[in-house]
């Protein structure tokens, strides 16, 4: 447990295990059911997810494979965020992809886990894993281009056979 006094919400504990992932912990002064509801009911999500900005929930298919799309409207314009749900375990866990419109196809996989603490508070652990350019570039040099060329050669052979 944390060393903060009971009843005082603990600040986020942030650690960065690597360059492309991180972990954030928060303890809320609320039961897990309330935290889960706030995170999964659109009319409640709209009251906090936008960080004080007006939030429009354009899509919210809360099921495995379902698509979510939330748009924050600020005086400077709109910022859209979206992804798909990979895993949902009621009251426990939500795993989804996360993209910002401004960095299209730079996908993070985020996991939110809730744990009911004995004192009635709830611990939220949030982790995110980013797919980075470095990793993609590594792939480019490790035979993906070769693989594509092989595919083209195979296609050439098929086309040649078709005459």
């Amino acid at each position: 447990m944390t060393n903060s006094a009971i009843g005082a919400p603990a600040r986020a504990l942030l650690s960065t295990p690597g360059d492309r992932d991180f972990r954030l912990e928060r303890v809320f002064n609320a039961k897990r059911e309330r935290v889960w509801k706030a995170m999964t009911e659109p009319e409640l999500i709209a009251q906090w997810w936008g960080r004080g900005n007006r939030l429009v929930i354009e899509r919210f298919e809360f099921e495995r494979g379902g698509h979510w799309r939330f748009v924050e409207h600020t005086e400077h314009g709109a910022h859209g965020f979206e992804g798909r749900y990979r895993e949902i375990v009621p009251m426990e866990r939500i795993v989804s992809s996360f993209e910002w419109d401004g960095m299209p196809a730079h996908v993070a996989i985020q996991t939110m886990t809730l744990e009911q603490l004995a004192d009635g508070r709830t611990k939220l652990v949030s982790t995110a894993l980013f797919h980075t350019a470095a990793e993609r570039d590594g792939m480019m040099h490790s035979g993906m281009e070769g693989g594509a060329n092989q595919s083209y050669e195979a296609l050439d052979r098929v086309l040649a056979a078709l005459g």
Binding site: P9, L24, W49, H79
Partner: protein
Amino acid sequence: MVQCSASLDGSFAALSDQTRRGILERLGRGEASISDLAAKFEMSLTGIKKHVSILEEAGLLTTVKVGRVRSCKLGPRRLHDESAWISAYQQMLAERLDHLETFLERTKGNE
């Protein structure tokens, strides 16, 4: 880090406009000339050039002049800014959780 945030702010400002986001989306599929973009977004050449120069300043777009045609493509910033994007993501998430905490406090005893 401060520099990263400042440059990301530039990206946010550059991306705050629907036409500019549209231009990047279009360039994500391949290069286009200023006049291609003007036609696609039904704008004057001057209007499109203004958006292009804002995106260019933010490093999100680069232009090359070939003969009489100015061709636009996505800029170098997209790849280099990933660490800035990751830290912006962390900051946004922390802010969201602050607001969730405030929301939970505010609605305490409602159920």
